[in-house]
């Protein structure tokens, strides 16, 4: 059946399916990249203890000893104000501004890696440390990471919900297009049935059509996603570089691309199967004039 002879309809269907499939794929890639970026932080939470800004060297030394001697302490690291300033200058690009300041505004920081990383134990430890007189501020990366992962989980849920809804959309679009194809071949189907064609014989070309629509949609989606990635890759790399990071945007792997094509084809065949089972039975090959 030369059903793909109508290029315009086919192209439009591929576009619609391509957009529907591209959206969840794109969201998936965004999440993938976020997770990859946050992978720079290891799972181990660190407690940053900001001492009073005017802490003397001996006070700092004393604080450090107290923290180090604590049984729960696994690793301790001191960042002096000078070290902090140098690091800040190197990373932030505010170097010129900082040079014009009279004195170093940054406090000493003790970076603590606790042994017990259970949330309750951590909270206990934090309360303990905050109670110390020379401590100004206690910052825990954990909350930040927990929040990030919470957002990522949420994002994943959204992606799944979107995938489900849009897959349904794909099924409906393919189903409707196939329904129209069936309607337009009505006479032919009736003749085939009259001459003894089985239901499978009639069904098969429409299933193939569904397959091609699904595959075409998947390929269109792939092209759309790749185009968007190309569009974003440049700025993302610039941003990464400004953070001293050589991160580059992760795209669709070969496996993912193949998976996309398979999913598209499967949805296409499924949509076609629904349309066929619903609309083929309304045909009864009754064309004979009453005589």
């Amino acid at each position: 059946m030369a059903l793909l002879a109508n290029w315009v309809t086919s192209a439009m269907t591929w576009m619609v399916l391509g957009i529907a499939l591209a959206l969840p794929v794109f969201l998936y890639l965004v999440l993938l990249n976020i997770v990859a970026l946050s992978g720079d932080f290891d799972g181990n939470p660190r407690i940053s203890i900001y001492l009073q800004q005017d802490a003397t060297a001996s006070e700092t030394e004393q604080a450090l000893r107290l923290v180090r001697d604590h049984p729960d302490t696994q690793e301790v690291k001191l960042i002096t104000p000078d070290e902090a300033l140098a690091d800040f200058q190197a990373r932030s690009g505010f170097g010129d501004v900082l040079n014009s300041l009279e004195r170093n505004p940054l406090p000493p920081v003790i970076e603590l890696a606790p042994r017990n990383t259970e949330p309750y134990a951590l909270r206990q430890r934090i309360v303990e440390i905050e109670a110390q007189p020379f401590v100004d501020l206690v910052v825990v990366d954990l909350a930040w990471i927990e929040r990030l992962f919470a957002f990522v989980s949420f994002g994943e849920r959204v992606a799944w919900a979107l995938t489900l809804i849009l897959s349904l959309g794909v099924l409906l679009v393919v189903g409707n297009t196939i329904r129209l194809a069936i309607e337009s071949r009505r006479t032919e189907i009736e003749v085939v049935k009259l001459v003894g064609g089985t239901d499978n014989f009639v069904r098969r070309p429409f299933l193939y059509l569904g397959f091609w629509y699904g595959l075409g949609g998947a390929i269109t989606a792939w092209i759309l996603v790749q185009t968007c990635l190309q569009f974003l890759a440049g700025p993302v790399e610039l941003i990464a570089q400004s953070y001293q990071d050589d991160y580059s945007l992760q795209g669709l792997s070969v496996m993912n691309s193949i998976g996309l094509c398979l999913a598209g084809s499967a949805l296409g065949i499924l949509g076609a199967a629904f349309a066929v089972s619903k609309h083929l039975h309304t045909f009864s090959a009754a064309m004979v004039a009453e005589g």
């Binding site: 009259l194 004979v288 004039a289």
Partner: protein
């Protein structure tokens, strides 16, 4: 008494009522032997088309039994209908040709459905076309053919699969007498090589000329019995 082994079609007290109350067939009983040629006559609306529809299970009888090849077609499942139809050639008045395909493709359709190979399809299509005298019209689209030629394409398609039974509903309906006679001669030829032929027509002159068995329908009832 007909020998059971050669009875091709048997109607046993068959009635067909359509929703709306009209009784198209009423208590029709008859037998047709393999190899017979039978004319189905009666006025318009007498039930000729309905009777043929029951044979190819386009409709099912409201009452009674219809047997084709000994098979009770009233009871068969949907799945069993296609094989039955593949062995019955049908020619209807409105041709049922596919206008976006060539004559060749139209005639080849039953062979494609039956799964014949490309070369065999070509052989049989050309044989059928030569039988109806349309060999040179192979690549033509039906729209470019006359009414009589379109009818002949329909006949070619009906016989291309060498069916055992040929049903024709008003095959000469819109043809001139000369052409009608030619078409009838074709059917007679098919019958002579062993095909069972049933022709519904209200052209009584043709019927009387061929002197074959006649089943006469009047308002759904069989008027004469053999």
């Amino acid at each position: 008494m007909h020998c059971l082994a050669t009875v091709l079609i048997r109607f046993d007290n068959v009635s067909k009522r359509y929703p709306g109350g009209k009784e198209a067939l009423s208590r029709v009983s008859f037998e047709i032997d393999s190899g017979e040629m039978v004319f189905l006559t009666g006025h318009s609306g007498a039930g000729k088309s309905t009777l043929m529809k029951l044979i190819i299970v386009m409709e099912r009888a409201s009452q009674g039994q219809v047997f084709v090849h000994g098979l009770n077609v009233n009871r068969i499942a949907e799945k069993q209908i296609p094989p039955l139809r593949r062995d019955i050639g049908v020619v209807f008045q409105n041709h049922q040709l596919l206008f976006d395909r060539t004559v060749f493709d139209n005639v080849a359709l039953p062979l494609i459905i039956a799964g014949f190979q490309h070369r065999e399809v070509g052989r049989r299509v050309r044989a059928a076309l030569s039988k109806v005298g349309l060999t040179d019209k192979e690549r033509v689209l039906p729209i470019a053919l006359s009414g009589g030629e379109q009818q002949r394409v329909g006949i070619a398609r009906a016989v291309v699969n060498r069916p055992q039974l040929l049903l024709a509903d008003e095959p000469t309906g819109n043809l001139d007498p000369g052409l009608s006679a030619e078409i009838m001669k074709l059917f007679h030829q098919f019958n002579q090589v062993g095909v069972t032929v049933m022709i519904a027509t209200h052209d009584l002159e043709l019927v009387s000329r061929l002197k074959k068995r006649e089943l006469q329908l009047h308002e759904g009832r069989l008027v004469n019995h053999e």
